[in-house]
């Protein structure tokens, strides 16, 4: 596979189950190593670009026993962020109340999903990797998340997103990538697959 992503563009990665979409995202995030070849992020090795990347998996990557803000505070410390302000802002942007003291084990699936997105964006990453951000989210929240992604794209961030729900992104995305059996079979400017 040879994939070159341009800065400031919004890419939607599509494909059947098992096509390798999540694996590709994990490789770009540095969580899985490619069997051969290399991945460069902003011209650097993945490990050296971790502070410029945000990753959201299809599992929340959060501690159930902590509140939303406690979770974000801990993960923010891993990026050297000590202030609560960017964390509260990230929570508000995904439609969550930063004052919420409930442990996230008591959150609904949709709320966990939104907090997971807040965890991926609080450090203002230039490259955002999102694996199924709309799953388990109600239509209003999905529209809110899509709006937020649109704002991030306008601000110049690069977004690579895996989803089966194209409705919200059909007009927003710049390019659609179609993956099959681990190979990129199509890049197009429209969601329709011709291959």
């Amino acid at each position: 596979m040879n994939l070159d992503l341009q800065p400031g563009r919004f890419y939607v990665l599509r494909g059947e189950n098992g096509a390798g979409k999540s694996t590709l995202l994990r490789m770009i995030a540095g969580l899985s190593a490619p069997t051969s070849g290399s991945i460069l992020i902003f011209g650097r090795k993945t490990r050296e670009a971790r502070d410029r990347m945000g990753y959201m998996a299809h599992v929340p990557l959060l501690y159930d026993e902590l509140s939303g803000m406690e979770n974000l505070r801990f993960f923010a410390s891993l990026y050297g962020i000590e202030s609560d302000a960017p964390l509260a802002e990230a929570m508000r942007r995904v439609g969550l109340d930063p004052e919420l003291t409930r442990r996230i084990g008591q959150y609904s699936q949709g709320m966990r999903q939104r907090l997971s997105l807040a965890r991926a964006i609080f450090h203002k990453p230039q490259l955002l990797l999102l694996d199924e951000p709309f799953s388990n989210v109600d239509p209003d929240s999905a529209a809110q998340i899509a709006g937020l992604l649109g704002e991030m794209r306008t601000a110049g961030n690069t977004i690579l997103l895996v989803t089966h729900q194209l409705g919200l992104l059909a007009k927003m995305a710049d390019e659609f990538l179609y993956l099959s059996a681990g190979a990129m079979i199509e890049r197009s400017l429209t969601p329709q697959v011709t291959a």
Partner: protein, 226 residues
């Protein structure tokens, strides 16, 4: 970016203790197991005071060794739930801060267990130290660190294996035999007063330094291994 290893390790300890305070998964299971060992051995052997002094080292460290193994498994299992470990791996924080934080958190939990269990050992086995009893504190601190640092490292290695509960003792126990032998001998020496425990204490100190250094250096590879 401000990413000091010691500061991040301290934040990891605080996070782990907070998670433990809220769930009490680790401490409860460790306490229950250690309590069972104390009570069952006490009734099974009904030792005299002299026998207790001779057996004490082995008994105490057997209880703590297996309780620690339980704690280590659970402390890493917590990082696997919801894939939290991946959030750590994609962050620019140094891996050794996670390792040292986990070691310190586990060390504190095992020390709490030891403080709670010590009076019960004294009560059930009628123990009094004939030798220099202050040495027990040093043996306890070094012995616990030796178990925890090795255990945390091997628990991280076995975290993604299917039978991780089985893998940890299989990896940990053979490597820990020299340290466990030193802890048991030193503890028995202090209780019986037969000979000095200083040689074993020095050995434990060297063991701790060597294994802590090796584990810290190798942890990044272990954390990012597929």
């Amino acid at each position: 970016m401000n990413l000091s290893v010691t500061k991040l390790a301290a934040l990891n300890v605080r996070k782990d203790l907070r998670l433990e305070w809220r769930s009490r998964d680790v401490l409860n299971s460790m306490l229950f197991f250690a309590l069972l060992v104390v009570v069952i051995f006490s009734f099974a052997f009904a030792p005299t005071r002299e026998e207790s002094r001779r057996l004490s080292g082995g008994l105490i460290w057997t209880a703590f060794l297996f309780s620690t193994t339980m704690a280590l498994n659970q402390s890493w299992a917590r990082e696997l739930r919801n894939g939290v470990l991946d959030a750590y791996r994609v962050a620019p924080a140094p891996a050794e801060s996670l390792f040292l934080g986990k070691c310190l958190g586990n060390f504190l939990l095992v020390l709490i267990l030891e403080c709670l269990m010590a009076p019960l050992f004294v009560l059930f086995y009628n123990l009094t130290a004939v030798g220099a009893y202050w040495q027990l504190i040093v043996i306890c601190l070094l012995g616990t660190w030796a178990l925890v640092v090795n255990g945390t490292f091997f628990a991280a290695m076995s975290i993604r294996t299917r039978n991780r509960e089985l893998m940890l003792p299989l990896l940990l126990l053979p490597v820990s035999i020299p340290a466990v032998t030193a802890m048991v001998t030193a503890t028995s020496n202090v209780f019986t007063g037969d000979s000095s425990a200083l040689v074993q204490i020095k050995f434990l100190a060297v063991f701790c330094v060597v294994y802590t250094t090796i584990s810290v250096l190798l942890f990044d590879t272990v954390l990012n291994a597929e």
